[in-house]
Symmetry: C2
Subunit: 179 residues, 2 copies
Amino acid sequence: MSQRPPLTRERIIETALHLIDGQGLGRLTMRRLGDSLEVEAMAIYHHLPHGKEQLLEQLIAYVAAHPVPPGNGAPRDRLRDWAHGYRDRLLEHVGVMPLIVTRRNPGALLATTQSLEDLLRTAGRTEAQAAVGAHTLLGYLLGTVALEARERAAETTPDDLDWEGRFRAGLDGVLTGIA
Amino acid sequence: MSQRPPLTRERIIETALHLIDGQGLGRLTMRRLGDSLEVEAMAIYHHLPHGKEQLLEQLIAYVAAHPVPPGNGAPRDRLRDWAHGYRDRLLEHVGVMPLIVTRRNPGALLATTQSLEDLLRTAGRTEAQAAVGAHTLLGYLLGTVALEARERAAETTPDDLDWEGRFRAGLDGVLTGIA
DNA sequence: ACCTGAACACCGTTCAAGT
DNA sequence: ACCTGAACACCGTTCAAGT
């Protein structure tokens, strides 16, 4: 008999993410997650006492936390690099997008937002300008990635569309407006 | 006995929307919707044969369809007016946002997207520029409204924040980038 | 401490039956 | 044509019990 690895919170999150990436958010159930972990569904509650709610919060935190890394390049270049990296990460885990965009989870996006505001302030913006800029950039990013995911899934648009080019072009417009 | 109005598709949609606005998307169930309509849940299937899936599609179509109205002002002003109107509409039915942002529903946003592209082409942009511009603007709008709804619900930020001002400021940045 | 089994209150949906 | 009642296969979760 193959010994299965011990059940840990980390393994639960990773397995859940794997399940979502493979089958979609709608098919993530406690019972199915239990099956994937080779355990009864109820065992999960021992590691996540607040059940599915807590599981989803953990998934959001895992995928959405993506602050701007430290660096000393031009602000505009740093923001552009960060944005492309974040887009890649979100597209890797498209199934979690609905949670990130709509669930209230103050913590998850807070670190990201604040790192954006810090960068903008360092670049000479006022507090208020930095707040608006961070909100604008993050809103553009989440919104366009959500649209891209939607349209890719619908497959009503030609598949050879240069999504990254479109993203970069729109991003340049946004960056011009804020940074 | 109060005669109840006949069950129609329209009345189902409106009641569902009322239920979502009041109690949230999570509490929209066929059984509860039936209760609100003073009818057994199964009666709904007679008007919406594809069940809940079809109901959600109808809700998206109802709320998300919001093309730019005809007019002959400056393109930038028309886009700004449209954006503020759309934001108001989405905030009125915040509970439907998760569906609009994440469900694949080609039709619902198509009319809106095309009206944006038309306006931008009329304003002298190339086909490609118009496509990117429409995508950027719609992405910004959906993303920031989703963020706003999230943060308002979380109530972790002070409530006197000038959300509309922030939206307008970010919008100006985006419009500068595309129009 | 960690996991299981049975049970409870919910879902969406099908299908035969009523009017 | 329009609606109901009973039933089915699923949910998330609680709780006592096992080791």
